[in-house]
C-alpha cells in the first residue's frame, strides 16, 4: 500500500514541475515588461527596479528560472499588483470559505446524486428514470452563473426564504476560530451562528453543485446498470441471498468505484466553478478573489493561484486514487 501511494505521489511531481515551467514562461510572455505586469497598479520606477532585482529579470533566463523555483519552494509567490497583499497569505485566509462552499456543493451532489442514480438504474425505463436522465442533461447545459442568478432571484429576492449573499449575517456576533464558519459555530456552541452560516451555504451550494450532481447521477446510473448485468450478481441471487444483501454487498460496492473517481475529478473542478458562484453570492473566498484578479489582470495573483489550485487538484485526485486502492485491491497491483 505504501509503495502504491509513493508511486502515485511520484506521478504528481512531473505535472507540477511542468506547470511551474509553464507559469514561469507565461509571465515572461505577457505583453510589456514583466516587472510592470507583476506590480500592476503599484508600478513605480523604484518598485520596478526592486522587482527586477528580486526576480532577476535582467539576468539570463536560466538564472531567472532558478530564482523563481527557489521562491516557489520557499513559499514566496509575490504580492497582489493592486492591494499589495501577499499572494500566499491571501490564499490561506480565503481558502476556508471556498472549502466550505465546495463541501456544501459536494454534499448536495453526492447526497442526492447517488440515491437518484441508483433508483433510476433499478427502475431503468420508468418515468423516474426518464425524469432523472432528462434532469441530469438539463443540469449541464445551464451556465453556472446564470443558474446562480436565477436561484438568488427566486429564492432570495422574490420569495425571501434564504439570504442573498455573504457567509453569515453581519448582525451575528460570531467567534471565529478556524474560519470555517459552520464548524466555528459548532466548536464555540454558538448554534445560531452555525445555523446562519449553514443557511447562507444553501443557494451557493445548489448553484455550484448542479453540474456535479448531474454527472454523479449519470455515472451512478450507468455503473449500477452495468453491475446489475454481471454474472456475480446473478450467482449471488441464485445462491438465495437476500435481495438487500445483494444490493449492498454486490451491486453498490462494485458500482461505486467509478463514482468515487468522478467525485474526485469534480472536486477539483468545483474550485474553478467557485470563481463564478462566489462572485454572484459575494462570498469572500478564493473564487471571488480570483474573479477580481481576472478583471484587473493581477498577474501575480493569477500566477500564484493557478499553481495553488493545480496543487490542490492534484492532492485531491491523489487522495481519491489512494481511496480507490483501498476499496479495490486490484488497482494497487496494476
Amino acid at each position: 500500500m505504501i509503495r502504491f501511494i509513493a508511486r502515485r505521489l511520484l506521478l504528481v511531481v512531473p505535472v507540477l514541475a511542468g506547470l511551474v515551467v509553464l507559469l514561469f514562461l507565461w509571465v515572461r510572455a505577457l505583453p510589456g515588461d514583466p516587472a510592470r505586469a507583476l506590480l500592476g497598479q503599484r508600478a513605480t520606477p523604484a518598485g520596478i527596479e526592486a522587482v527586477n532585482e528580486l526576480y532577476g529579470f535582467d539576468e539570463p533566463l536560466l538564472v531567472q528560472f532558478g530564482i523563481y523555483v527557489r521562491q516557489v519552494l520557499t513559499g514566496d509567490l509575490g504580492s497582489s499588483g493592486y492591494t499589495g497583499e501577499p499572494v500566499v497569505a491571501s490564499f490561506v485566509s480565503r481558502f476556508p470559505a471556498t472549502v466550505e462552499l465546495t463541501l456544501a456543493a459536494l454534499v448536495f451532489a453526492v447526497g442526492l446524486g447517488i440515491p437518484l442514480g441508483y433508483l433510476a438504474a433499478r427502475r431503468a425505463g420508468s418515468w423516474l428514470d426518464g425524469l432523472t436522465v432528462g434532469g441530469s442533461l438539463l443540469g449541464v447545459v445551464v451556465p453556472v452563473f446564470f443558474l446562480a442568478y436565477l436561484l438568488k432571484l427566486v429564492f432570495a429576492q422574490w420569495l425571501g426564504w434564504l439570504p442573498t449573499d455573504g457567509r453569515q449575517d453581519v448582525r451575528i456576533d460570531a467567534t471565529h476560530v478556524t474560519d470555517f464558519y459552520v464548524l466555528d459555530g459548532l466548536l464555540t456552541r454558538e448554534w445560531d451562528a452555525a445555523l446562519d452560516a449553514l443557511v447562507h451555504l444553501v443557494l451557493p451550494g445548489l448553484a455550484l453543485g448542479t453540474i456535479p450532481l448531474a454527472i454523479v447521477v449519470r455515472i451512478t446510473r450507468a455503473s449500477v446498470l452495468e453491475v446489475l448485468g454481471e454474472d456475480f450478481v446473478r450467482t449471488a441471487e441464485s445462491k438465495g441471498l437476500a435481495a438487500s444483501v445483494v444490493r449492498r454487498r454486490h451491486v453498490l460496492r462494485n458500482a461505486l468505484l467509478p463514482v468515487v473517481t468522478t467525485i474526485g475529478l469534480q472536486t477539483g473542478l468545483l474550485l474553478s466553478g467557485a470563481v463564478l458562484t462566489e462572485s454572484v453570492f459575494a462570498i469572500n473566498g478564493i473564487g471571488s478573489y480570483l474573479f477580481t484578479a481576472i478583471s484587473q489582470l493581477d498577474y501575480a495573483v493569477l500566477q500564484g493561484y493557478i499553481l495553488f489550485i493545480a496543487l490542490v487538484y492534484a492532492l485531491v485526485n491523489l487522495t481519491v486514487d489512494v481511496l480507490y486502492g483501498v476499496i479495490d485491491p486490484r488497482v494497487r497491483v496494476s
Partner: protein, 309 residues
C-alpha cells in the same frame, strides 16, 4: 467549468434491448437506423437544425442591425420598452431590438463554437496521433503535457490565454480551444491504442505496409468515432464557455457584438424589473447546448457496438 459528460448509461439497459440488426449491416448503417428511431436523437437534431437555420438566416430574421442602439429608444435605468409591433421582444438594456440581438447571438455562438472546436480538435488530434502512433517515450512525453494541461481547470487556462493575447475574438476562440485540446488528445490516443491490437492492424502490418500507412489509413480512420461524438458534445459546452468568459470580462472586447453571454451579463442589473432580458439569452444558451448534447449522446449510443445486441 467545462462539463465533460461521462459516458452514457450502458447502452444495453436491461429493460430496453436495442433493435436487432440483420447480420452484415455495417456499423454506420446500423447506427443510422438506430438514430432514426431514437426520439432523443430527433429532438437533438431538430434543436441543432433550428439553431443553424437561425444563425445562417440571421439578417433575414432580425429586421434591425445588431449592436446599434435605436435613437430615442426609451431605455431608462429602471425599465426597458416591452414588446411592441415593431419589436416583438422589446429592446435590450442597451436599446437594441432584443430579437435582433438574440438572432445574431446565434450566429456569433456558431462561429465561435465551430472555430474553437475545430482548433481544439486539430491540436488535440495531432497530439493524440503522436502518442497513439509512436507509443514509447513519445507517448509518455505527450501524455505528460496533456496531464499538465488537465491540471489547470479549463476556466483558468482560458483566463491565462486571454491575458496573454488581450481581448479579441481570436483570443476567445483560442482560450476555449486550449481547454479542449487535452480532452481530444486523450480520447484519440485511447481509441488508437484500443485499435492497435486488432487483427486487421496485425494483418496490415504483416502484409508489409509501412507504419505510416497502417496508422494513417487503418488505425486512425477506425479511431475517429468517439472523437467526432465528443466534438458534438464539446460544441455545446463551448457555447456555455463563451458566456462564462463574457461574465468574467474576457469576451471579445467589442461591446457592439451581439453575444448571448454578454446580453445575460448586461441584464443582471435589471433582473428584478425585467427578468426576460436575462431569461431569453439564458434559455437560448441552454437550449442550444442541450441540442448538441442530445445529438452527441445519441450519436455515441448509436455508434457503440454494444448497442447492436
Amino acid at each position: 467549468m467545462t462539463a465533460v459528460l461521462p459516458p452514457p448509461a450502458a447502452a444495453g439497459a436491461p429493460s430496453a434491448p436495442g433493435p436487432v440488426d440483420e447480420p452484415g449491416v455495417s456499423l454506420v448503417r446500423g447506427a443510422w437506423r438506430r438514430l432514426r428511431r431514437d426520439p432523443t436523437a430527433i429532438v437533438g437534431a431538430v434543436l441543432v437544425a433550428a439553431f443553424l437555420l437561425v444563425a445562417l438566416a440571421a439578417p433575414l430574421l432580425a429586421g434591425y442591425e445588431p449592436g446599434r442602439a435605436l435613437p430615442g429608444n426609451g431605455v431608462t435605468p429602471s425599465s426597458v420598452p416591452g414588446p411592441s409591433p415593431e419589436h416583438p421582444l422589446g429592446l435590450d438594456a442597451s436599446g437594441v431590438d432584443l430579437l435582433t440581438q438574440l438572432v445574431y447571438g446565434a450566429r456569433q455562438s456558431l462561429v465561435i463554437g465551430v472555430v474553437s472546436t475545430s482548433l481544439g480538435l486539430a491540436a488535440g488530434m495531432a497530439l493524440g496521433v503522436l502518442a497513439g502512433a509512436f507509443g514509447g517515450w513519445v507517448d509518455v512525453a505527450v501524455m505528460r503535457v496533456v496531464d499538465i494541461m488537465l491540471s489547470i481547470p479549463s476556466l483558468l487556462l482560458a483566463v491565462s490565454i486571454a491575458a496573454l493575447l488581450g481581448q479579441s475574438p481570436i483570443s476567445v476562440m483560442l482560450a476555449i480551444a486550449a481547454a479542449q485540446v487535452p480532452i481530444f488528445a486523450r480520447l484519440l490516443r485511447g481509441s488508437m491504442l484500443a485499435q492497435r491490437g486488432s487483427d486487421y492492424v496485425l494483418a496490415a502490418s504483416s502484409l508489409g505496409l509501412r507504419h505510416r500507412t497502417v496508422v494513417m489509413s487503418h488505425v486512425l480512420p477506425n479511431s475517429l468515432g468517439p472523437v467526432i461524438v465528443q466534438a458534438t458534445l464539446v460544441l455545446g459546452t463551448a457555447i456555455i464557455e463563451v458566456a462564462a468568459l463574457s461574465y468574467l470580462g474576457l469576451g471579445d472586447g467589442n461591446p457592439a457584438t451581439a453575444e448571448w453571454g454578454r446580453l445575460l451579463v448586461r441584464a443582471q442589473a435589471r433582473l428584478q424589473s425585467d427578468p426576460h432580458l436575462a431569461l431569453l439569452p439564458g434559455a437560448c444558451i441552454a437550449v442550444t447546448a442541450l441540442g448538441f448534447t442530445l445529438l452527441g449522446e445519441s450519436l455515441r449510443e448509436a455508434l457503440d457496438p454494444k448497442g447492436r445486441r
